[in-house]
Amino acid sequence: MFTSAGFAKTWQYIQLFKEGLICTLSLSALTVIFGFIFALILALMRMSKIKPLSWFATCYVELFRATPMLVQLFIVYYVVFAKASLPNFKLFGFIRFERFFPGVVALSMNSGAYLSEIIRAGIQSIDHGQTEASRSLGLSSRQTLFDIVLPQAIKNILPAIANEFVTIIKESSICYTIGVQEIMYAVASIKGATYRIAEPLLIATAVYFCLTFPTSKIIAYFERRMSRGFKR
């Protein structure tokens, strides 16, 4: 299964893994940022008193949670961006933007649906008395949301957000199917060049583990630190 000759061959292409790592990291980081902003908007829309907004957000969330990620990715890449001529420059000198960008969009749209439910639960878990106290002091509903409710809600949902971040790192591997040069794409390339599959997969496993395990630990550490001041 694993042979030292196989590892030696794979090692010749280690540069591909380095590039894959950079690509996976940028893909995940951008997805988390865009996904979170998008999720926040979705959550607010879903809780909005304006019916069409909440109706739209509800449909969106249900649709994206009930269909496979791969289907969503293909629709975004092959249908939505089919006609759009994206600029074909290369990020960091190797990541093909016209493939990378649809990947980010599809992942963000997917994780936005999941994160919005987490955020909504977080906001609804905050005692209504907090809002009343804030409004009674004359703060606007917007100020109340951003200064009083969200800071507490985000603290409460941090473990769930961290979980989602880890999930995104792993799910980003699906983007190799549209030719985004992340870690699984490196595995596929090496397989093509060396006819070895076990060794590249083992390395990919190790790289993913090294990404996700410390990430969840670091966030858990910050979570403990943040809750020190004001446990309720």
């Binding site: 106290a133 409004r135 002091l137 004359g138 100020q143 200064d147 800071p151 309720r232």
Partner: protein, 258 residues
């Protein structure tokens, strides 16, 4: 403004829940003058808290008017001094009404000082230094000068409620609304909170207090309002209400609580 000037006038106030199945307020008329200390008493479910919460529109009344300083705050528009139609911004009016809640509702993610200075800085655009100076002065007044940097979780119930009171005072409100301020407190902490409210009453602050502390109502209240079933049943001075109750409903209530 003259000391007996009308500050809040409530007419025909109704608040219905469950499509009218529950009439928490069923036609309440009352006016509060500047300098009044109004204590609202009555059995549970009589609508006292709903009445108080309608005064600053935390509860939106089903019908009726709440006129605060000449402006009906239940309407979307009002006419200003120059006769222009202006869109009502409820936040502007709430700033002038301080509110203290049964469960304190301090912001747990902020220190005492930050709790107090948030609204003055955000809403009144006061600079941080001035706001903090003012906050420390108020904390000193209620004996909590050394707790400025504590988080709410580190305070006792009585301390939390004192902070909640001075937090509301930071906005220099024209009226203070107290919604059962001592009901969630351990008995030994009730005194320290009542002391602060008493002092505030003596300073001439206009106040509306919903409470179950009859002794305190009698001592501090200048006007007592007795409510039952969403209506005001009887009003009068503490002597009239406590020593010479007229309605059978009030007589019955007093027999049970005193």
């Amino acid at each position: 403004m003259a000391s007996n000037a009308e500050l809040i006038k409530v007419t025909g106030l109704c608040k219905h829940f469950y499509n009218g199945d529950l009439k928490a307020l069923d036609g309440v008329d009352y006016s509060i003058n500047k300098g009044d200390v109004v204590v609202v008493i009555g059995p549970s479910g009589s609508g006292k808290s709903t009445f108080l919460r309608c005064l600053n529109l935390l509860e939106v009344p089903t019908s009726g008017e709440v006129v605060f300083k000449g402006v009906d705050i239940t309407k979307k528009y009002y006419t200003d001094k120059n006769g222009n139609k202006v869109r009502l911004n409820i936040d502007e009016h709430r700033r002038k009404m301080g509110m203290v809640f049964q469960h304190f509702n301090l912001f747990p993610h902020m220190t005492v000082l930050a709790n107090m200075t948030l609204a003055p800085i955000k809403v009144k655009k006061m600079d941080k230094e001035t706001a903090e100076k003012k906050a420390r002065k108020l904390l000193e007044r209620v004996g909590l000068a050394d707790r400025a940097d504590a988080y709410p979780i580190q305070l006792s119930g009585g301390q939390k409620q004192r902070v909640a009171i001075v937090r509301a005072l930071m906005m220099e409100p024209e009226v203070m609304l107290f919604d059962e301020p001592t009901s969630a407190l351990d008995p030994e902490m009730v005194g320290e909170v009542l002391e602060v409210i008493r002092e505030l009453a003596q300073s001439g602050m206009t106040m509306v207090i919903v409470t179950h502390e009859m002794g305190f109502a009698k001592e501090v209240g200048k006007k007592i309002v007795f409510m039952a079933d969403g209506k005001i049943v009887e009003t009068g001075s503490p002597q009239e209400i406590f020593d010479n109750p007229k309605s059978p409903r009030l007589q019955d209530f007093l027999r049970k609580v005193l």
